[in-house]
Amino acid sequence: MRKLLLFIFIFLIIFSSRSLGEVEVRSVLGISGEWKINRWCPLFIHFKNLGGKVKVDLEILFTQGLRFAGNSKTIYKQTLEIPSLSTRTIEILLPPIDFRYPIEIKAISKEANLDYIEKIEFNIEKVILPLVFILGEKKDLPFSFSPKTRIINIINEKLLPINYKSYDSADYIFIDYNFWQTLSPSKKNALRLFRIFERRVFFFEEIKNLPKNLNLISSKIQFFPPTFLESPDLYLIDMQSFSYPNRLQILIFLSFYSFSLYLLKRLIKSFKYLILSLFLSLSFFIILSFLIGFKFKQDSLIVGEKGIVYLSPEKEIAEIYSHLIFFSPYKRDLVFSIQPNILQIYQPFYQPKRNIGPLKIEEKKGVLSLEKNKISYLEALSLVLLPIRVSYENKDFIKIRVENNSEYNIENLIFTFENRDFYLGDLKKGETKTWNVNLKNLEKESSFSSVISKWKIKNGIIKEEEIFIWGKIKESLIKLDIEKTKYNIRAENIIILPLLRGG
């Protein structure tokens, strides 16, 4: 009997440690399945493992582009470990989705015999409609919503994303305070951060301060995919210098080589020593040539960066939309590390291009395949701590004090007050300056709109402010450490420091 029990026990241990192939996968795009086009949104993938511990290779394909003129692909990869008899949910922040392409999900595990492939299709007529979330107990809202507005009530915290930018898919979020108190700190922080940057989150107690008409509108379908810029800006890379040796350096190197050969041959009389010295000299120059050759290919890369930095006045945290442009005369793979402050990175589509390799993002590492003599792009959303303090008093004249404790110099700071400008000048890192601005001295019209228009930045990205300071940072803000490559980068970022809340 004991032997039988022992056998059953061993059998059960072996049986339970192996997978039965009972892994269920379910994917949900948006918050509770609701999202709005042209906005960032979350993708949830739920795993339910009824068998033993398994490893699952997860792959999400995000595509932007035109139907017949090529596209740009981004593949997000992860390897997950799902313990026995457990559930696990993966949340992925997706950039604005191009209506032409569904999101493709693959979850594959050989040990669990799992081969899950799904293309998330969507109803375009639905995802353009305004979207409002009510978190907690549903109360009557004193607004005149259009009948097509989607008003979604959420009472289960599990449906809410952890990434603050995921809430971008909503036009407005209204929270019941009792529900708020039950939320976990991570969800609270996400909603707080979203409120700081977007100001579309309100408690029911705050509703009375809002206008009766929230002016919710349906999204427009963009023929060109939703990217940061209207069109790419080649100025970012044009006339930049490569880091590889130039003509003069090559001429000096080879002249020195021929001169050394001449000297050796003229000065050394002994044949043995001549051969030995020729061998040594040649070895030196051959090794040096190989090094120059390797460096030539490695360093033949030019990078341009353009970004919008939006600093929250309360928290010294900045949200950065970065657009990066790459050029190399050779076909190559750029391997770079992705810093933790980068929320998401993707390959945007700007112009028809064929045979362009996908961008692969895996375990905080990215691989971008560049084609010979072709331009490639990356776009990223990131958060950085930017210790720039701004204080502002509006009495007889406006007193502005800016303390720049960041590591960046800010050039051409301009104070914009109700669409009128006042030029403040440069502010170096570590510098603090105070300005007294008389409203009579303001320019008649602000140059902000024309600068943004020249910068080709899409309207939806810039938040409309009434009073703000803005300037330029000509240093790279996004730290992509491209492996084994020395390259030059031209960076131009616009920084916006809002001084007063609108609305």
Binding site: D238, M239, Q240, F242, Y244, S255, S289, I292, Y330, K372
Partner: protein, 252 residues
């Protein structure tokens, strides 16, 4: 066989005339490389990296083939003191040893010259577009091809009449360059084709540049055989010449 030809190689390496030739070739190829070197500034509208390997390898091969034939045939001005007839007359060596030694001496010099040009070739190869490491193929093929030019050169050096010798050397050089266009079917087996292949050329005028492994095997064995045959014929010719000129005093 005593390695007498190493003495000839030593004299060549120390010769001022040869230094001039080497430095001239290196400087010419340096200027060519610098001229075609990619711009270090990116002009989006005009930037392009040319195939530096093709330009460099082809010109270099033409120079090396010419030099191989010129030196081996004894037509180089600096070669006057190393004439093969003088060796046959006065050297205490068998004629086969003289022919083989002459071949080895010229080939070793060409080998050293090709090695001296390596830094330029490496830079040209790495700064080329399309990018592919072909320097190893080129070095091997240019040496393999030069076997033929050296062997023919030695054969022409057995012509006592300097004008006929010079004409034969030139005709032979030009024939190898133009034969692919005259008889296209021979193209894969001729020197120009494999050098162009090493330079990543797709086509030259009306000819496709094709060089596969089967072509390489044919080229390798046929060049070695042809070289041996040419050296053997040279030896026979020299023997015949010595027989007709027995009245020359010899040490041995």
């Amino acid at each position: 066989m005593i390695l007498w030809w190493t003495k000839e190689l030593e004299l060549r390496l120390k010769s001022k005339r040869y230094i001039k030739i080497e430095i001239t070739i290196i400087l010419f190829l340096t200027l060519l490389l610098v001229l075609f070197w990619p711009d270090s500034t990116l002009n989006v509208k005009t930037f392009n990296i040319s195939n530096l390997s093709l330009v460099n390898f082809t010109l270099q091969a033409l120079i090396i083939f010419y030099l191989s034939s010129l030196i081996a045939s004894g037509n180089l001005l600096a070669e006057k003191e190393f004439k093969i007839f003088d060796l046959v007359k006065y050297a205490p060596e068998k004629i086969w040893n003289i022919v083989l030694g002459k071949f080895l001496s010229v080939f070793s010099y060409i080998l050293i010259l090709v090695i001296l040009l390596l830094p330029i070739n490496i830079l040209a190869n790495y700064a080329s577009s399309p990018f592919e490491i072909r320097i190893y193929y080129f070095t091997f093929l240019v040496l393999l091809d030069s076997l033929i030019f050296i062997s023919f050169g030695i054969l022409w050096s057995t012509i006592y009449n300097p004008t006929l010798n010079w004409t034969a050397h030139w005709l032979n050089y030009l024939l190898f360059l133009f034969l692919p266009f005259l008889i296209p079917i021979l193209n894969p087996y001729l020197p120009l084709n494999n050098i162009l292949w090493a330079g990543m050329a797709q086509r030259i005028l009306s000819l496709d540049v094709v060089f596969e492994f089967s072509h390489f095997l044919t080229v390798f064995f046929s060049y070695l055989s042809l070289s041996s045959l040419l050296l053997f014929i040279s030896q026979l010719k020299l023997k015949s010449w010595r027989k007709n000129n027995e009245n020359f005093s010899r040490n041995k």
